[in-house]
């Protein structure tokens, strides 16, 4: 099995039911921190609905992320046409640094994929945010993953 730069052969009958990838970008000149990107995929029960999963995720965020504010949501379409849900919100961390986070969800059958993109709000201009959203929209599932 190959995941990113890793090769690993799990013992039978193990099968991958969850994946998490982490990306990091250097900090912009005047930013308090770097920009991070987490992609996570896990199996969900058959018959799950994206709207319900997104609602549950938002409930968890609203209850667990201290100081979360400016929450907005949008229904989005990924580049391959698959619909998804995007949340954007802010919260303060490490003192006065306000982070802007984009949280997108995509459901393909029983595979739920989330993208969490975190950036220093002070350094986030419209062009950068737009490029981030373009990147989020590029998420697609390997056609063989559902077979």
């Amino acid at each position: 099995m190959r995941v990113g730069s890793l090769r690993f052969e799990p013992p039978a009958p193990f099968a991958c039911d969850e994946q998490m990838l982490s990306f990091i970008a250097p900090a912009p000149p005047e930013a308090a921190g770097r920009t991070s990107l987490l992609v996570r995929q896990k199996d969900v029960p058959a018959g799950a609905h994206l709207a319900r999963l997104a609602g549950e995720a938002l409930a968890d965020l609203a209850q667990s992320v201290k100081g979360i504010s400016h929450i907005s949501k949008a229904e989005i379409a990924f580049d391959d046409g698959q619909p998804g849900m995007l949340f954007a919100y802010e919260f303060a961390a490490r003192g006065h640094t306000v982070l802007r986070q984009f949280y997108a969800l995509r459901l393909d059958g029983e595979k739920l994929t989330s993208i969490t993109l975190t950036a220093d709000k002070a350094s986030l201009d419209d062009a950068t945010a737009s490029s981030f959203l373009d990147a989020i929209a590029s998420l697609q599932l390997d056609p063989g993953a559902l077979s």
Binding site: S22, A32, L38, A51, R52, L58
Partner: protein, 400 residues
């Protein structure tokens, strides 16, 4: 500033009648203003705004306008009917498109939507002034001394009252240490997914029957028994009802219902809120079966609470151990409240840790990743990791 407009469909006397008397003219002006305000309210619907800032601004404006509408509606309802003409043919009602034969009901004419607060007020334990305001300090005292809640739990319960009314009322509630129990229906705590037994303004027998249909059989004179499992089934059924636009109970969303339309509000606020409320109901007013140790509340007690506004006897609450935060948390957990994708917050915090370039508490980056993916780490270290001493020894032997 609100501009009073001439009515588009004025009241006009029917043929042969004397001119409209002064009260009718007042009514006409009020109705014209009401129509204008309703149009403004629709124009300030936050759902039509593109940005969060615009949504909040529109929401605040809409709340102000809606408050003015409520006052006007109450004013109209209180207006005396037009006096009969002194002479001429038999009096006839003026011709108008609006039927005023039914009085307009405002929220203040309805029952208190929270059965517990309603029963506290009805029993006289909680003093309500003419405007519907109650003191939260008094509520806290009742919870501690009469309901036998721990002081911490009582305080946590009472302070939610600050947010019980509309967004614009929070500051006033905080400063006055009070809340308005007559305006909870339009407040921020009102949520979809509840029983809706009192949402319509009066006790709804049909909704009550649907609620207690989930009860287990009870003993003699008990009706049925609503157990943790019963409440869990009721929560799910009510959530399913309000997620569907065709069956959603009108007005169930309160002041925040517009934020997450399309049934999402039921999942985000509705289900968790219902679990919290029913956990409180069960812990505070319930009984324990001595044979099985199972906690329950009888459907007869619920009927007395919702319909007759009577609390269970204080002696029952005083005779059980003090109810604290841990009891609530345990009941909520048993009621099955867990999110299917419950590590979203862990991922969010992990993203923050990585963005700020500091690893949590000197561990490597996977500490946060663990928090994001491991149910035993998520939410802190309250839960023990599932590792036996033998496994721990093997692990350390393998890595040393």
């Amino acid at each position: 500033m609100t501009r009073v407009r001439a009515p588009s469909t004025p009241l006009r006397p029917a043929a042969g009648q004397s001119p409209a008397p002064a009260p009718t003219a007042d009514r006409t002006a009020l109705e014209a203003e009401l129509r204008d305000l309703r149009r403004q309210s629709r124009a300030h619907d936050p759902r039509g705004q593109l940005t969060y800032k615009d949504m909040m601004r529109a929401s605040q404006e809409k709340a102000k306008i809606d408050q003015r509408i409520a006052k006007l509606e109450a004013q109209l309802a209180s207006l005396a009917p037009a006096p009969a003409p002194v002479s001429g043919p038999a009096p006839r009602r003026p011709v108008d498109e609006m039927d005023r034969s039914r009085p307009i009901r405002t929220e203040r004419d309805m029952d208190i939507v929270c059965p517990v607060l309603g029963a506290m007020v009805a029993s006289g334990k909680l003093q309500m002034d003419a405007d519907g305001n109650v003191k939260l300090s008094q509520l806290r005292d009742i919870l501690v001394h009469d309901h036998n809640l721990s002081p911490i739990m009582a305080r946590a319960t009472a302070v939610t009252g600050f947010a019980g009314n509309g967004p614009l009322d929070v500051l006033g509630n905080l400063l006055g240490n009070e809340m308005n129990v007559l305006e909870l229906r339009s407040g921020m705590i009102k949520h979809p997914g509840d029983s809706a037994i009192l949402t319509g303004g009066k006790f709804d027998q049909g909704r009550f029957d649907a609620f207690v249909a989930h009860a287990a059989p009870g003993g003699p004179g008990e009706g049925g028994r609503m157990t943790i499992e019963s409440f869990a089934r009721a929560v799910q059924a009510q959530a399913d009802r309000d997620q569907d636009g065709a069956t959603r109970v009108a007005g169930s969303g309160g002041a925040l219902g517009w934020i997450l339309p399309g049934g999402l509000d039921t999942v985000v606020r509705g289900q968790p809120s219902a679990v919290v409320e029913y956990s409180a109901l069960l812990n505070v007013y319930g009984q324990t079966d001595p044979a099985t140790g199972e906690r329950y509340i009888t459907t007869d007690d619920l009927l007395t609470l919702y319909r007759d506004k009577q609390l269970p006897p204080s002696a029952r609450m005083q005779s059980r151990p003090m109810t604290g935060v841990a009891d609530f948390a345990t009941t909520m957990a048993k009621m099955g409240y867990e999110t299917a994708f419950g590590t979203s917050s862990g991922t969010a915090l992990e993203g923050a840790e990585r963005a700020l370039g500091a690893e949590p508490k000197g561990t490597d980056g996977m500490g946060g990743a663990g928090k994001a993916s491991c149910p035993f780490m998520h939410g802190g270290a309250q839960k023990a990791a599932p590792m036996s001493p033998a496994e721990n020894h093997l692990l350390h032997a393998a890595t040393s």
